[in-house]
């Protein structure tokens, strides 16, 4: 690569969080006119390095250079002023104020005339910023709550782009975006490249990275493993670099035997959900079956998971737990009947982030470990330790707070909650979302294992590959109704399913 184009360089960059090494003497180079992908397992250091570049946190040691000059931003504001714009994985907007205010947050002074901040001037400039990224349909004068979550991410993008950055960092943003949002963000990245600016793109989606990036840097356990140019992109090679060993062939289930018992365990009859699109939906789930549910976003599949678990208001119809003959009233009832539910919104609906691993895992199983009215610490510890071992959750101690775990480990904790209860029916909504390849494989193995034990799994997913790879039977939803049903087969392709979805 032409060294004249070098815009960012790190030398021997290290970052420690207590005894944990997040970055280990990393020498990273970012060039102009390129989209550089950063890929690695959870906890490999991708987000750490970009957050240090943007000024969100300081490095423990090492040097950084931006446009040839030493670079050491102490805040994100400083980083942004120097020309590094970043779109973060988490919510980056402020609710309760308008879109225009969000775009010019902290820069309202630009619109001051005679001591008064002109709202109309601000809205006009904000609208220009939105139009500039191709979001002409979003009205800058609206309150941020008036647009959906995916468009809010685009407002963040407009804000970052309004400051005309020289380096754009996109940190796992695309997982939260619709297809339209993705194409907008890809266009921006390409435009930046064409304007001879630099883009750093972090994603878990290997296909997406291979498609968009010109160069890919693989990180593992805080070390920079390799640096590949486009011609060298090869999925298995990249996966091997990420995981550090040969992934082998076994990833999804190996068998293609889709036969399941005739015994129906769940009967969903003509259900209409309170929120979302799900309307007059019926299905039956069999014992020992992995039932895949797929569809485009807003097709009603996530609501279906909640409806089955009793978490969502049902307007018409019913969900019956066939072995007991009882209609499911609410989540507590569902748990009593041996059901478990892993939510898509892991951080809000499935975990108490500020509580320990121990509290999170034992919370769903208190009735399994109590002695009369007492919860004995030893029994609780043994129960939690067993889940930690079974799922090989990486943690310093079971008393560690869940919020400091990596995405994959968090998801394992959620699994631990329900596996410990020995649930007969487990509803998994996007179980491998934001989880790296290694953990994914472990989870697939675990799901397969549960199936072999005769447990029933409803797997809702936005990833077609895993649905095809894991499900005995696959239901595709469209606009809240059933659009197609597929049996497990070696011949089933993504193409067929996509046709059914759209």
């Amino acid at each position: 690569m032409n060294e004249d184009k070098l815009i960012i360089e790190t030398r021997q960059l290290c970052k420690n969080f207590g005894p944990t090494i997040a970055l280990n003497h990393v020498d990273l180079k970012i060039y102009r006119g390129q989209i550089t992908g950063l890929i690695g397992e959870n906890g490999s250091g991708k987000s750490t390095i970009t957050s240090i570049l943007a000024g969100m946190q300081p490095a423990s040691s090492g040097e950084m250079f931006f446009k040839g000059k030493p670079h050491k931003p102490s805040t994100m504001i400083e980083g942004a002023a120097l020309g590094i714009g970043m779109i973060v994985q988490e919510q980056g907007y402020v609710s309760g104020i308008s879109i225009a205010q969000n775009i010019f947050l902290g820069e309202e002074g630009r619109f001051r005339r005679h001591g008064i901040i002109s709202r109309s001037a601000m809205v006009k400039a904000a609208q220009e910023a939105l139009n500039n990224i191709g979001c002409n349909d979003i009205d800058a004068s609206w309150y941020i709550e008036q647009i959906d979550l995916q468009d809010r991410k685009l407002v963040e993008l407009a804000r970052v782009m309004a400051s005309n950055p020289e380096v754009l960092v996109v940190d796992e943003t695309t997982t939260a975006l619709s297809q339209r949002g993705r194409s907008i963000i890809y266009d921006i990245m390409r435009r930046m490249r064409d304007e001879d600016k630099a883009v750093i793109f972090i994603s878990h989606d290997l296909d997406e990275l291979m498609e968009v990036c010109d160069r890919m840097v693989v990180l593992r356990d805080g070390n920079l493993i390799t640096d590949l140019d486009k011609p060298e992109f090869e999925p298995n090679l990249i996966k091997r670099h990420m995981v550090g060993r040969d992934m082998g062939e076994k990833y999804y289930r190996e068998d293609y035997d889709g036969t399941v018992s005739d015994e129906v365990v769940l009967d969903v009859d003509n259900v209409t959900s309170g929120s979302g699109l799900l309307i007059n939906f019926s299905m039956q789930v069999h014992k020992g079956e992995i039932l895949g549910i797929g569809g485009l976003s807003h097709c009603g599949m996530h609501e279906l998971g909640k409806v089955v678990f009793g978490e969502e208001k049902i307007l018409t119809g019913s969900v019956t737990h066939v072995p007991s003959g009882q209609k499911i009233r609410d989540a507590r009832h569902a748990i009593k009947l041996g059901m478990g539910y892993v939510s898509k919104d892991r951080d809000h609906e499935a975990l108490v982030l500020s509580a320990s691993i121990r509290d999170n895992i034992s919370s769903a199983g208190l009735d399994k470990i109590n002695d009369g009215p007492f919860i004995l610490p030893n029994k609780e510890k043994a129960y939690v330790n067993q889940q930690v071992q079974t799922l090989s959750i990486k943690c310093a101690s079971i008393n560690q707070n869940v919020q400091y775990l990596s995405g994959g480990n968090k998801q394992k904790v959620v699994f631990g909650k329900w596996i410990g209860r020995d649930c007969d029916i487990l509803i998994l909504d996007c179980p491998t979302r934001g989880v790296d390849v290694g953990v994914k494989a472990a989870m697939y193995a675990l799901i397969d294992d549960m199936k072999r034990q005769g447990k029933t799994i409803i797997m809702i997913s936005e990833e077609l590959a895993e649905l095809i790879g894991m499900a005995d039977r696959l239901l595709i939803l469209k606009d809240g109704s059933l659009a197609g049903e597929f049996q497990r087969s070696r011949q089933l392709t993504e193409h067929e399913i996509i046709e059914c979805m759209i």
Binding site: M56, T75, M76, I77, A80, Q91, G92, Y93, V94, S95, G96, I97, Q101, N102, L105, G106, E107, E108, G109, R112, G115, I116, I117, R159, N270, T272, G274, I279, N280, K313, L315, T316
Partner: protein, 341 residues
């Protein structure tokens, strides 16, 4: 909706609670055969209480809406009155400049107290509730130590106590409101206030200075407590120093107006909303007095009013939800019957 209809609609919604509450109690008191509510002397009391509680609620709103629970506002009221009032008492100025001078002095001392509260908050980095308890105790102690622990006694100085006259108190309130509306809606400070209120972390990350903003909020709150103090002394003529955190009871007047103000904020402006809320609360207290409710009943009713209002505010989205549910259910049932045919 055109701009003018929207503005009209916002004005109507903003003023509606005041009109509805006033008419409601007018009707009730007359039904119970207790005429006199809301007119003459009673209207004057409602006006006074609106201004007095309004100032306190405005003061509390600048910090509480950003999650800073400030126990020290009552002690700021007392201390600013004791210091500012006693100085004004000693300075010989022709009428009515003495009264104006007293306002200036008391408000300045209040703002100074606010500055001190704010600095304590940002320097100690303790939870604001803890800091404010400490600050309240310090202010109470200072108020107690000064002027032979006598507080402020102005009942012989009619010339200084002109601010309960409705025309005077309304001018005071209007001036303060103009300044606050400007600050909250047309300055960077106001924009920052609102972004920090709902998204502190994100706002700080893009460069909003939370520390400066909170100190300014404390200064504004201090000044407003000074104004509340002026209203207090003008009505009562005497204020004694308090200790043992008993000054914290002053902020109890603030909650209902503040919650109403926050709910009305999106239709006009939070400051105006707070004053509308203060008017509603003043009507409630006056009407209860008219209806002969004892003090414990009044306390209960005030609590019930705050609770009912909060229940409404946090649940009103359910009306829309139920409507949506009904429509969807009808659609689903329609589809089923269509399929049967």
């Amino acid at each position: 909706m055109s701009k003018s209809t929207r503005i009209l609609k916002n004005i109507v919604i903003t003023l509606a609670p005041a009109v509805i509450v006033y008419l409601f109690f007018l009707l009730i008191t007359n039904l119970f055969g207790e005429p006199g509510f809301g007119v003459g002397d009673n209207l004057r009391v409602i006006g006074y209480n609106m201004v007095y509680s309004g100032f306190i609620a405005l003061a509390v709103s600048y910090n509480l809406t950003s999650g800073r629970f400030d126990f020290s506002v009552g002690s700021v009221l007392i201390l600013s009155l004791i210091v500012g009032g006693n100085i004004a008492k000693e300075i010989d100025v022709p009428e009515p400049f003495g009264a104006v001078l007293m306002v200036v002095l008391v408000v300045l001392v209040g703002m100074l107290c606010g500055l001190i509260s704010g600095l304590f908050y940002i320097l100690l980095r303790l939870p604001p509730m803890v800091t404010s308890l400490g600050v309240a105790m310090i202010f109470e102690a200072i108020g107690f130590a000064l002027f032979d622990s006598e507080g402020l006694r102005l009942y012989t100085r009619q010339d200084l106590l002109i601010w309960t006259k409705p025309q005077n108190s309304f001018i005071l309130l209007a001036l303060v409101l103009i300044v606050l509306i400007y600050l909250l809606n047309f300055t960077k400070f106001g924009y920052n206030c609102r972004s920090l209120q709902t998204g502190q972390k994100n706002a700080v990350e893009v460069g909003v200075n939370e520390k400066t903003n909170s100190v300014v909020c404390y200064i504004i709150a201090g000044g407003l407590m000074g104004f509340a103090g002026i209203m207090y002394i003008s009505q009562n003529g005497i204020i004694a120093p308090q200790t043992g955190l008993s000054s914290s009871s002053f902020m109890m007047n603030a909650f209902l107006p503040m919650f109403i103000g926050n709910a009305l904020a999106k239709y006009s402006d939070r400051n105006i909303g707070v004053i509308v809320g203060a008017f509603c609360q003043a009507c409630l207290s006056s009407a209860l007095v008219y209806l002969g409710a004892g003090p414990s009943m009044q306390t209960v009713m005030n609590g019930v009013a705050v609770m009912l209002f909060l229940i409404y505010v946090s649940n009103n989205y359910k009306f829309a939800l139920h409507r949506a549910w009904r429509e969807k259910k009808e659609k689903a049932l329609g589809m089923t019957s269509a399929a049967k045919q």
